[in-house]
Every structure is written in C-alpha cells, then in structure tokens.
C-alpha cells in the first residue's frame, strides 16, 4: 500500500498545500551534499509545474500542485580486513590485534552491531576473544584514547559514506606450532536489522531509544523506511593469525679491567659489554637488529662518563668495522646517537646464540 511519503496537494483548488509550502521553503534554505551512496535518506524531492497560456487574448500563468516524495534509507555497508597479511603471533601471546574497516555505503546514518566468532573452523586453533576497540581516527590502536566497545551501549554509528577502523583483540593459546593458523571472524550488522535484499523495516513513527538505525525509522516525521541492500544486512570478514614459533631473548653483562689490572671502575678502566642473544623454537624472525647505547642506563648512566672504544665491536668474536658498510655492525651511525648497531638479519634456532661485544672506557 502506498505510504504517505508521496504527497500532493491536499486542499482542493489550491496548487500548494501548507506542508509543501514549508517543505519547498526548507529546501531553498538548506544546501545538500553529494554522497557516493546517493541522495541522503529523508531528503524530500519536490517538483512543481508551471503552465503559461493565452485565453481570450489574456496571458495567464498557473502552477500545479507540488509533488513531493521522500527518499528512504538504503542499508548497505561493507567490512574489510585491513592487515596486509596474516598477523604473525607467538604461542601464548596476549591481546593480538586484528584491524578491520567498516564502511556505511548506504544513504543514512546507521548504528552497527559488532560481534566476533572464533570457532568457525577451518583453522588450527581458536583465538580467545578479548575485546573490540573503536579507533579514534588515527588508525593505530591505543587503549587509552580509543573506545572500548560495549555492545548495545556504544555501538559505532556511521554517517552515510563514513568509514570506521575497528580493532579486535584476541589471546593466542599456548602450545602451538610453527605456521599454525587461527581465524577470527568479525560480524557487522546494521542495528536496524538484516535480511534478504529489499527487506523493508517500516518506520512506526518513533525512534527506538533515539538511536538512528535502532529500528526502521531514521526520520519519524516523514516515516522514512529502511530497506536492505545488496549487503543483505550482515557482513562477516575473517582475520587470520599465523604462529611464528620463535623466541628471542637478550642478556647483557659487563666486565671491568682497570689500568692497574684490577676490576675497579676508575678513570681509564675499560668496560667490556657482552650482549648474548638466544634463539629457540621452530620458527624464524626477520630483520633482527640489536642496538645498544653507550649512554644507556647501567652502572654509569651519564653519557660522557664513558666513551666507546673505536674498533671494539665484535659479533661472535669477529671484528666489525665502526662504519656503516658491508658488515653487520656499526657505531654512531647516524652520528651523535652513540649507538652500536648489529643487524643479525633472519634468525632461527639453527643458530641458537649470537654474542656481541664492545668496549667503553671510563673517562
């Protein structure tokens, strides 16, 4: 049955009724924006014809009724997993983050319900759901500044064409093996409802809890309905974790040789620092770079109290030049950083230990 959203003159003999006089005036007052999703929901589209003629030699101009129609809300959204590849995690890791983007492709403001399913199968392990955060716009998870989702209370509401980054955190079980995968499925549904294409949620004239998308009623005045689009209401996207079973630990020691041959930390004494890197597990890690500062906290924390001994940097007993060149190490590059840097590259437990040493003298 046609609704009241198609309205023509209701006062016999009058070309324009009061409501539409007001509507036309409002349309003249407010400029509208252009949306990729089309004309915004609740927009009134008005048209009026004018007829000019001559009767008995006299020119006459008349106006028709104003035909006004109201655009309904299209419920259309998309959800995409934003991580560029499987998220590498370690067994037992807490709060491993997956990143998604939710976009409102419809033409009206809509609130979305979010949920996570970690038990769909097809993977090796089930992540344990922790929480969902709504990004504050910088695209980076920060639990202090982003919003912790409280489902049904602070569900994200997106304007037409708007997008929102969503972070899902899960705990990774212990006891996993290299390359084990775990799936985490994020579901996003409009609060208005779900269903096959063209399913209609009729506006009953009231907003549900005052929330857009709380029911099929984005605008109770104009009885704007909500209609399911091609997304059929629910979008579910899988994020994937993959286990890299590699553990890297680093230990730092030092030894002092004073000019007198003892081990007193006196002026002129040499401190030999030893960094021991241990690799275990069945996985690998790439681009492993070890840095240490001559000024770093330690027995002599004030920079300037010690000075690096040029040419003292070694990896597994092999001398490394101080310049940033073909070998794996360098000192003070870029300048003034007072850092020793050793690039170990890709590491596996096949080489379980790396030892880096360098000397500093007490000034």
């Amino acid at each position: 049955m046609p609704s009241d959203k198609y309205k023509t003159s209701s006062i016999p003999g009058l070309g324009i009724n009061k409501l539409h006089c007001v509507v036309v005036l409002l349309l003249m007052l407010f400029a509208t924006n252009s949306y990729a999703a089309g004309v915004p929901a609740a927009t009134v589209i008005s048209s009026q014809a004018r007829v000019d003629m001559t009767i008995s030699g006299s020119p006459i101009s008349l106006f028709s009724n104003t035909a006004s129609i109201i655009v309904d809300e299209l419920l259309e959204h998309s959800l995409n997993w934003q991580d560029t590849s499987n998220v590498v995690v370690g067994a037992g890791q807490a709060n491993a983050v997956l990143t998604y983007q939710l976009t409102n492709n419809g033409n009206g403001s809509e609130a979305y319900s979010l949920s996570v399913n970690n038990t769909a199968g097809g993977d090796i392990f089930d992540p344990a759901f922790t929480d969902i955060y709504i990004d504050n716009g910088d695209g980076v998870l920060n639990t202090a500044s982003d919003t912790l989702l409280n489902p049904g209370i602070n569900d994200p509401t997106l304007a037409a064409d708007a997008s929102q980054i969503i972070f899902v955190r899960n705990n990774i079980p212990a006891g996993l093996s290299q390359n084990d995968t775990g799936f985490s499925i994020l579901n996003a549904s409009p609060r208005t409802g779900t269903g096959p294409v063209a399913t209609t949620y009729d506006c009953d004239g009231t907003l549900n809890n005052g929330i857009d998308g709380g029911d099929g009623c984005i605008n109770p005045t104009f009885l704007v309905d909500a209609i399911i689009g091609n997304s059929t209401g629910t979008q579910s996207v899988t994020g994937i974790y993959v286990v890299n079973d590699v553990n890297i630990s680093i230990n730092k020691n030092f030894a002092i040789r004073s000019p007198s041959g003892g081990n007193e930390p006196v002026t002129g004494a040499t401190i030999t620092y030893t960094l021991t890197i241990n690799i275990s597990g069945s996985g690998s890690a790439d681009n492993v770079i070890v840095t240490d500062s001559i000024c770093s906290p330690g027995p002599y924390p004030t920079c300037g109290d010690t000075s690096y001994v040029p040419g003292s940097l070694r990896l597994d007993g092999v001398s490394l030049s101080d310049a940033n060149d073909a070998d794996a190490g360098n000192y003070n590059d870029p300048a003034t950083t007072n850092l020793i840097t050793v690039d170990l590259g890709s590491v596996t437990a096949a080489t379980p230990t790396y030892v880096i040493t360098f000397d500093a003298i007490i000034n």
Partner: protein, 162 residues
Amino acid sequence: MNSTLKTIFTICLLCAFSIAQAEIKIEQTVQSEHRSKDDEGKTVIEYKAIDKLLPGDTLLYKVVATNTGSEPAENVEINNNFSEHVIYIMGSAQSSAQGKNTTVTFSADDGTTYAPAGEVVVTKGGEEQVATAEDFTNIKWVLNFELPPGKSTTVSFKAKVK
C-alpha cells in the same frame, strides 16, 4: 498561526483565485518504475504509486493540463523544474498530443533560457560546453496548437534519483 504560515496561506489563496479565473486544471503526479519478469522471462516495466524510494530509482513525472473553461487556450507552455536530487533521463520527454506539433526544450539556468537538448550550453571551468542531463534545471513543452474547452494534454518525463 505564525506569520510565516499566514503568508503561505495568503499565497495559496491567490493560487486558488487564479485557477478559478483561468478555468484550467493542472495536476502533476509522480510514479516510480518497477521492473519484473513475466512467465517468458521478459522484462515487464510498470509505473506505480511510490511506496519505497531509494537512490537510483527511476521516476515518471506527468503533468495533465485540462481546459475546463469555455474558451480555447492558446500558446500553451508547460514548464517543469528538475529537483537537484534527480537527473533527467535523456529522450524520455513525451507528449500526449499525438500528430500535433510539440516542441521540447531544456534549460540549464533555472529557466532563464531554453534550447533543444544538445544545444544547451553551459560554462564549466571557464569554457563553454554542451550541457549534459545533469546540468538541466528545467524542461519546457511548447504546444503549437490550441487546447480546446473540455480537452486535456499530458506531458511526461523520466528522471533518476541521484
């Protein structure tokens, strides 16, 4: 009744007075296009009263002018504006005056000037170019015949909701 509504009501009374004097009845209707498949799989297009309306839907606008007086109406011109929320569908303008001469022209400057489609010019980026359907603001039918007493003429066009 506030002052704004009083003003509007006064304007509307003037509309009624003019209509009564001219003895011409003008009615505009708008329907939406519905496509379906028949038993043979052929597409069936129907135009129905609007129940739901979404971006991309096609609308059919009709204007019926009826001479309810006793004198013929001459030099009849029917002008319809396009809402900024719709785009005229090229070639969809129709007139019921079969076998009679009706001229259809378009405007891209809110009805100040008119020309046939393909001859309307707009200026974009400092350069003149032929207007597209998105540029059209008005459509006008010029009936090159009298509308006798008791007779009606119908004009129509289609537009797509942006």
